[in-house]
């Protein structure tokens, strides 16, 4: 007994040609841009490859266009306010199947990010006014066994550490601690993952350079997590728990290497309209003891179209001069009138910071549309 084979529609995808723009102005990044463009083109071909015979009802492809525009206001700055962050991108997902089984899934997230007067920005931007083509979570996951117990992943995944596994922070104001804790949120590399006995495991070995592929000073990252399987990733995250580990030489934004290891514990649970989640990690950053954590309480309306949250984030490190802490309190809300639109507001207040920096209050407002 078998089900009828799928047949697909022929598609043309021209938007990915924009990737070639990265080759033009910056010669220093030419090799990396070529690697990026080749990777993105291969992934895009896998997603949108033309196949024989047209049938729109099973082309195995889901994709959305993702627009967002953000204003960011800093209360304590000599620069001009507010900063802008605009993004347009494609988020695509395609499954490849043989007669009796799925053999691979492809995930592609390509965005054009443009900033204007943005002081708080990712390290790969050349300055406060810049545009960059960014590859977010983009990978191929090969189903080696067919029963989901062992898959091999190649590409640019989110690192499987802590709450980033069950919680989706893709293009949202609400963020978690991995970028600052590990020094990375995504990385180029390979990995293995699967679900066995109600538990999901994932591990990656990566380049250690984050969003952009760079090999100077030979960075690398090794990440692993095992936790309760959830079948999905979402804004609030499915309830469960997990333990994670990380080791690596991480490439910093100034080009130096930061050696880090972490052990992490995370969990999410709900009671009525309230959700509670937390993450704790311990380890070393360049031989200095480090303890970092996040605690969040969130609440959802009965219709679930509005979510409010309050986070406490804590970073603690034993410098040569002694322990220092950097605490911040974050309050935010998101209104989603339908499945396309999301209006978000967030206020982050730094209670303490490392070194001689000045505490800052950051106010963000974002409008997002996904079609």
């Amino acid at each position: 007994m078998q089900l009828r084979d799928s047949v697909h529609s022929e598609r043309a995808f021209t938007g990915i040609a924009n990737a070639n723009n990265c080759l033009q102005p910056a010669k220093k990044n030419r090799v990396n841009c070529k690697a990026l463009c080749v990777s993105v083109t291969v992934l895009a071909w896998l997603l949108f490859a033309p196949v024989s015979r047209a049938q729109s009802w099973d082309d195995k492809l889901r994709w959305t266009i993702d627009f967002s525009s953000r204003l960011q206001y800093l209360t304590n700055t000599s620069g001009s306010n507010p900063g802008q962050f605009n993004s347009v991108g494609v988020d695509a997902f395609r499954v490849f199947s043989s007669r009796y089984r799925d053999v691979a899934t492809v995930n592609l997230q390509i965005n054009l990010w443009c900033i204007n007067n943005l002081e708080r920005r990712p390290g790969f931007f050349d300055g406060p006014d810049d545009c960059q083509l960014v590859t977010k979570a983009s990978f191929v996951n090969f189903a080696i066994r067919g029963d989901g117990k062992f898959n091999l992943l190649v590409g640019h995944p989110e690192l499987p550490f802590g709450l980033e596994v069950p919680v989706s922070t893709n293009q949202t104001l609400r963020q978690l601690t991995n970028p600052r804790d590990l020094g990375l949120k995504l990385d180029w590399g390979v990995g293995a993952n699967g679900t066995i006995g109600g538990y999901h495991y994932a591990t990656t070995v990566g380049r250690g350079s984050g969003v952009k592929y760079k090999d100077s000073n030979n960075p690398y990252s090794i990440t692993a997590r095992i936790g309760k399987a959830t079948d999905t990733q979402s804004y609030l995250g499915a309830p469960g728990f997990g333990v994670s580990g990380f080791y690596g030489d991480v490439l910093t934004r100034v080009g130096s290497i930061s050696n880090r290891w972490r052990l992490g514990l995370d969990g999410i649970f709900y009671r009525g309209g309230f959700g509670f989640m937390g993450q704790l990690s311990v380890g070393k950053t360049d031989s200095m003891d480090t303890i970092n954590g996040l605690a969040e309480v969130n609440a959802v309306t009965r219709s679930a179209n509005s979510v409010g949250y309050f986070q406490l984030r804590s970073f603690n490190q034993d410098f040569s001069t002694g322990w220092q802490d950097a605490w911040s309190a974050v309050a935010g809300m998101r209104f989603t009138p339908d499945t396309h639109w999301a209006l978000s507001f967030q206020l982050e207040h730094e209670l303490s910071v490392f070194g001689a920096r000045t505490e800052q209050t950051i106010i963000d407002l974002q409008l997002r549309y996904r079609k």
Binding site: M1, Q2, L3, R4, S6, N21, C22, P25, W57, D58, D59, K60, R62, W63, F67, S68, S69, N86, S87, V88, D91, F93, V95, S97, S98, Y100, R101, D102, L112, C114, N116, D126, D130, C131, G146, D147, G148, G194, T195, G198, A229, T230, D231, T232, Y270, R271, G272, G273, V300, R302, S303, A304, D338, T339, H340, W341, L367, Y369, R370, K371
Partner: protein
Amino acid sequence: MFSKRLSHLIHLGMLAVLIGLPFKLHAVAYCALRDPMLAIQTFYPGFTSYRSYLGVVGPDLRRVLDETLPYQLHFNEFGKHTLYVAYAGEKAIGLVHARSEKGDWGLDEIVWSFNMDLTVRDFRFQRSRSRWKDNLQDEVFKQALRGKGIEGLLQFLDADGSKFSKQISGLPPEAEKLAATVVRSALNTIVVTEYVWGDRLQVGRE
């Protein structure tokens, strides 16, 4: 990467597109069950592989739902949805499909397991904040639903499909609202599955 002037032009263009977007469009890529392994491994311990089938749920389905079911359904999940088929070797042994239903606190996500003839085999809550969900995941309630198709499931509801009308041992009255939601979810899933993937299932049954 780009010159400042070009950067500003890109900003303006992106803002113009965002502001100019119509408020109601369809075909959003939405899926409550993107990695189905926990569900499939739970429902079909002896399975050897699974295959996903994508289907387009369009506005024409609303008419079919209205004609088949006794209650008004505010169905707004148009777009692409995935049906998973579990195999034991080359034999299709069952179906897995997830649906989202309006609950007391947001959406309740229910993952359904159906036999190949679209009768109920099992279900579980993937996401629900209801305090009564454990009562419904009890084996007594599940056993009452097992093997039921559209006609059998309608017997659990009153004439207009709004209330749960059966006596189930151990099911507290307070849980009956959620029980009715679960039964309606099963009915909706059967109608949607038959309409979108019916021709393929017919081949699988032969």
